[in-house]
Amino acid sequence: MDMGRLTSVKMRIPRMRLGGSALVMAMTFAFSFPLMGGEPGVPAEEPQNGTCLRCHGMPTLGYQDPDSGKFINFYVDHEKFSRSDHGRQGCVVCHKGNFTVLPHQPEGGRNHHSCGDCHTGEKLVQRMRLVGIAAQFQKSVHVQRKVKGFDCFSCHNPHESRLENRMRAETDVVRRDNGVCLNCHQEMMAVEEKHQVIPKTGMHLAAVRCLDCHTPRPGSVIHAIEPAQRAERNCVACHSRDSILLTKLYKYRLHESEQRAGFINGVVLSDYYVIGMTRHPLLDALGILGVGGALLGVLIHGAGRWFATRRRLKP
């Protein structure tokens, strides 16, 4: 399989902005901790996660990158990590190198991992659809435009990613997924202003994911993020019975609702109302029957009047 890009992409620690003074304090605090007691060049005992998290569990741990000027965050949220799909892994399963010195000297520099390093094996790769994802990723605007350092981890935080997250309420899914995009794009543009073409912009941005409009149809190609000019602009793409949201944002929810309440109820009882999409087949039938019945009724009544009048007027 072609895992070229996936295997070549390197791990990058998620970033966040931090106050400068907090950083200085955090670094000072971090350096004041004794590390694993080893001397340089002497193999040390393999550290446990708790040892790493003594420093990396501090939200203020990070530094300002001299090249980009950005703050690089070394914080790992222990709570989120332990709940994540990788939460049972030891830190050193992925992070190899000499951690007895500061700054650490990880093997191959700071960014040296890819999904494909661990996610190997035909069955696993097939189950995770990694080959298809890799192909989609190659078509993504981020790859096409050679965005520096863009890789799997730019969007998927291995310390927090959890497959079950996609089953959460859509508002949470939207907030989390859009947060990933906004992490970079908020700095690049006035997002809401750029999307003024969409009515009720703020509500739309809070209700659907960037990916729902910025990836091709159907939703199975969610990793092939397209350039802005090719974004979905047709209202009916979402606001219709065959809404693309059913293959994207609501894909898992719909499946879960169907299993819980059956196909019709699953659609009907969806937790969110989207005009044109969330339609009750029985209500639709009721409406058509009601208005159709009224039309038929007046036609019959009118015809009856016409015949009755003709008969009365006959000499």
Binding site: C235, V236, D271, L283, G290, V291, G302
Partner: protein, 221 residues
């Protein structure tokens, strides 16, 4: 005056404010119906009106319909037109059944209208009930739910564990269907006047020929 003491006289039963409201309401109603169908039964392959256009049209017409509704309620309250909306409680059910019987049977036999328009009551009992329900219950419901859909922030966040917009949307749709049925019936009943167009003529001119008899001498106005 004929030998029975019955006089016929043309009176202004539909003042200008009412006619202006009626016809603007009819236009808004038609546009709301078409745009509402386009939005609800949204189909990229067979749009009645394009979704984006229908959205704007529905919102604008909804706003005008609301303004017209407020205009009607205030003017109806201030003018003496409100008298036509006060139900006659005496023999209420019997009067309703009599009118229904006329539509179901009498009209085919060439019988005359059981409740012709008078100065005090221009509606027949069925008309009066329908208009009362439409103007004072159905329209307020569709307006309120319409605004909840237009400005979803006004809708409750959740109702019975569902998105708060759901009840508003379902109610808006059902009431819309009811109004569409009313619309069909209303347009059809236009044709049951003396001539096919006499009802439209009176709604354009405002004048209607009513019967004034000895018992209703106060109606000689």
């Amino acid at each position: 005056m004929n030998p029975d003491g019955i006089t016929k006289k043309k009176v202004m039963l539909y003042p200008l404010w009412l006619r202006l409201w009626h016809w603007s309401n009819a236009l808004m109603f038609t546009l709301l119906l078409l745009s509402g169908i386009s939005l609800h039964f949204s189909d990229p392959d067979a749009p009645v009106i394009g979704f984006a256009t229908a959205r704007v049209l529905h919102n604008v017409c909804g706003l005008f319909l609301t303004m017209g509704f407020v205009w009607f309620i205030v003017a109806n309250w201030l003018s003496d037109n409100l008298r036509h909306y006060r139900p006659v409680r005496q023999n209420f059910v019997a009067r309703l059944l009599k009118q229904a019987d006329f539509y179901a049977r009498g009209i085919f036999l060439g019988q005359s209208h059981p409740f012709p328009a008078t100065w005090g009551q221009k509606f027949n009992p069925l008309q009066q009930m329908t208009y009362l329900l439409i103007m004072y219950l159905v329209l307020p419901v569709i307006i309120v739910t319409g605004f909840m859909l237009w400005v979803p922030e006004w809708a409750p966040e959740q109702i019975l564990g569902m998105d708060g917009l759901w009840p508003a949307a379902v109610l808006h749709y059902l009431v819309g269907v009811a109004l569409a049925v009313f619309f069909v019936g209303h347009v059809y009943l236009v044709t049951i006047g003396k001539t096919m167009t006499s009802q439209i003529e009176k709604m354009l001119s405002g004048w209607e020929e009513i019967r004034i008899d000895k018992e209703n001498d106060h109606e000689r106005r």
